[in-house]
């Protein structure tokens, strides 16, 4: 039997069926315009889109190519060139739009801004024209100059200071932030019945001024706070508030309540005349008050023979002001008394440490120090001798401990260090021998 034709037929049949299955189920199936996600097809897509003028879409397609072929160094350059081209083209249309706008041709201006945004959706300038200036072509505008505030503009334009925050909101601006010089504001159209100033704002300001004239500063602050809670407070309100805070700060200074004074001064707006000097004075006096308080406490501690506490407190004062004589005197007296006390208690080392802080000619400090050193050396010698006794009794560990005490009391002892070394070596040797004996016995 000749199998060849049959097999060929079977082969072809299966091949076709297999292929059909594969095609039917191949991923990426979709509409005819679907682009396979390959660098080649996206490159072609990018070029087509560029030809059609769809530059943003083309740029995106190039970015897909870049992601698919990260090693292709040419693609980033193409992207950069295209980005520059888009930015330039967008800018040209934006400028055309501005020209049309200035000529009053708003429909053409809109078209140009739309093209600018189609090319570069990030162009905030075009957005501002489209969403603001072209929305209100006949709206009154206000160019901000140095010294202007929402409050001032509201007062001048509407004779209604309470409209300050309305101007800010209408322009999507934060009323708490100062206006930028040369900024252009759109002024909302407000009908006459919306322009009547809020009676309470005006009357409150008048009341605050009256209270200020009568030196009722707390009342001024209460009224200005009430005005502020209703929106941007305006220059008059702020000036009254500042003056009241400053006056209250000065009153507190007179009463030597410097902390309260500082609190009031810091609430005054920066730039208010005398503010910085007043703050500095209050801070200095607070410092002084704190020093005096510490000194008083230190003296009390000294009187109660709490010399260590007195030393600590005077130390804090001297750390901030080394020239404080009272603190220095008290510190010396406390050191002296504590040193003497320690010496009496037989704590020579501590006494030496405390007395060494003092000048040697302070009272009999030199004598006390000599006494302390002598006692310490004597004690050191005693320990040394004990060590020798231990050594002779072949109690090497105790001998070393004694000589170490000697060195603690007198680090310059002429023999102790050498003796410790010798004893240590000997001890080591003995231990080595003991080890050997032990092993031998085992």
């Amino acid at each position: 039997m000749n199998w060849r034709p049959l097999l060929l037929l079977l082969f072809c049949g299966l091949w076709l069926q297999g292929c059909a299955g594969a095609f039917q189920n191949s991923p990426g199936k979709g509409t005819e315009s679907e682009t396979p996600v390959t660098a080649q097809s996206y490159r072609q897509k990018a070029l087509d889109l560029e030809r059609q003028g769809e530059l943003q879409q083309a740029l995106f397609a190039w970015r897909v190519v870049a992601a698919l072929t990260p090693d292709d160094s040419a693609v980033p350059d193409i992207i950069k060139t295209l980005e520059r081209g888009i930015a330039n083209a967008g800018d040209i249309h934006y400028k055309k739009g501005v020209t049309f706008y200035q000529q009053g041709n708003f429909s053409e201006a809109r078209r140009e801004f739309l093209i600018a945004l189609r090319l570069d959706p990030e162009d905030k300038r075009a957005v501002t024209f489209l969403k603001t200036w072209l929305q209100y072509p006949n709206q009154k505008i206000f160019k901000v100059q140095r010294g202007d505030s929402y409050f001032k503009i509201a007062t001048e334009e509407y004779n209604d200071p309470s409209k300050a925050n309305i101007i800010a909101a209408f322009n999507d601006l934060d009323p708490q932030k100062p206006l930028s010089v040369d900024a252009v504001l759109l002024l909302p159209n407000l009908s006459p019945d919306q322009l009547v100033p809020r009676k309470e704002t005006i009357s409150l300001l008048q009341k605050a001024q009256k209270a200020m004239d009568n030196r009722r500063y707390q009342e001024v602050l209460a009224i200005t706070a009430k005005i502020k809670s209703g929106g941007p407070e305006g220059a008059d309100c702020q000036a009254l508030s500042d003056s009241a805070h400053f006056a209250l700060g000065n009153a507190m200074m007179e009463k030597k309540n410097y902390s309260s004074a500082l609190e009031y001064f810091t609430k005054v707006s920066p730039g208010f005349k005398g503010r910085e000097m007043a703050i500095a004075k209050a801070e200095f006096n607070i410092q002084q008050q704190s020093t005096e308080e510490k000194l008083r406490t230190a003296q009390e501690s000294f009187n109660q023979k709490e010399f260590f506490a007195a030393i600590q407190l005077t130390g804090e004062i001297l750390a901030q002001d080394a020239s404080n004589h009272k603190a220095k005197e008290l510190s010396d007296a406390a050191h002296y008394a504590l040193g003497k006390q320690l010496l009496d208690q037989g704590q020579e080392a501590k006494a030496i440490e405390v007395l060494s802080v003092l000048a040697h000619d302070y009272k009999d400090t030199a004598q006390l120090l000599n006494q302390a050193h002598a006692r310490r050396n004597a004690l050191a010698e005693e320990y040394y001798r004990k060590g020798v006794k231990y050594f002779l009794n072949e109690e090497l560990e105790q001998a070393i401990a004694s000589w170490e005490q000697t060195l603690i009391l007198n680090p310059n002892h002429p023999k102790a260090r050498q003796d410790i070394d010798n004893a240590s070596r000997l001890l080591e040797k003995w231990r080595g021998m003991e080890q050997t004996d032990k092993k031998g016995n085992d």
Binding site: P27, V37, A67, K131, R198
Partner: protein, 331 residues
Amino acid sequence: MNRLFFFILPLICIVLMAGCTGHLLPVSNTAQCTRNDYLAIVTIQPQDTLESLARTYLGSEEKAWWIADYNHIQKAEAGQKVVIPLKPLKAGGLQLDGYQTLPVLLFSKITTGAAGAQAISANQFEGQMQFLRDNGYRTVSLNMFYGFLNLEEQLPQKTVIITLDSTQRWVYETAYPILKRQGFTAAVFVSTGRVGKPGAMTWQELSTLSTDGFEIGAAGVSAQKLTLNASNSDPAEYLQNLENEISSSRATIEDHLKTQCFYFAYPGGEMNDLITAMVKQSGYKAAFTRQGGSNPFFVNNYKVHRIVITNSNDAAQMRQNLITQVPAELR
């Protein structure tokens, strides 16, 4: 015969397997993703859907269409490689031949009884919603719309927003089931002072709507036009009332529904610069008028146009209202 078994049969098997590869094995069974600031290239996994991909890569299932649209696909198929743009490619719906515009439909009364001048019947409403669905229109959230206005989002070409300016029960009892049935959501603007009153929705019902994807916006407290009292009462008192109508309605909604309220509808659609400024000042992101027309991205966020749907709207008028592309030479 031996030749058949030893040479040809294996050959047939190989050919069979090759042919069936498409049936038996996915093209790629490993997770693959290339991602940068602009795009992600993803190989779809068996468990993926366009919605899940949108959630993962675009932060919201609402953007699934974005992947479908860019890749010209209807659904996610395992093994398929797709490009996901991470930023809008047609911000503001700007194209060479025009720009997108978004109709916001306003229904102020739907009745189960006979239709009136302003009120349309539930059947008419159902028919209109059916029309929208049959013609491929979609609704989006007000936050997506706000993103569109700020060139931060792109929307499906056939996008509409449905708004219902009423606190009355027909919203919950009549409009809500129809919208749900047709697969749409809507923004409901309520006057907070009326909630819970006889004939009005309760906070519980509003909460149900909110949970179901409907957005609850503010339309003041009293449902009075905000411009109404300007010449009739003491200006200081009027301004105080105005602040209250605008600010406290927002606070009340947020308090009851535990969700943020960023959108305002001017009661009766009437507004002026003062009211607009106060709405902005109160922290709303956008406000809706009753000025007719559709909305390109460059519409003033606080003067969003709405098309009032009344009983007199016929099919032709409806079609006219639903234009979503304005032709313009933007080359």
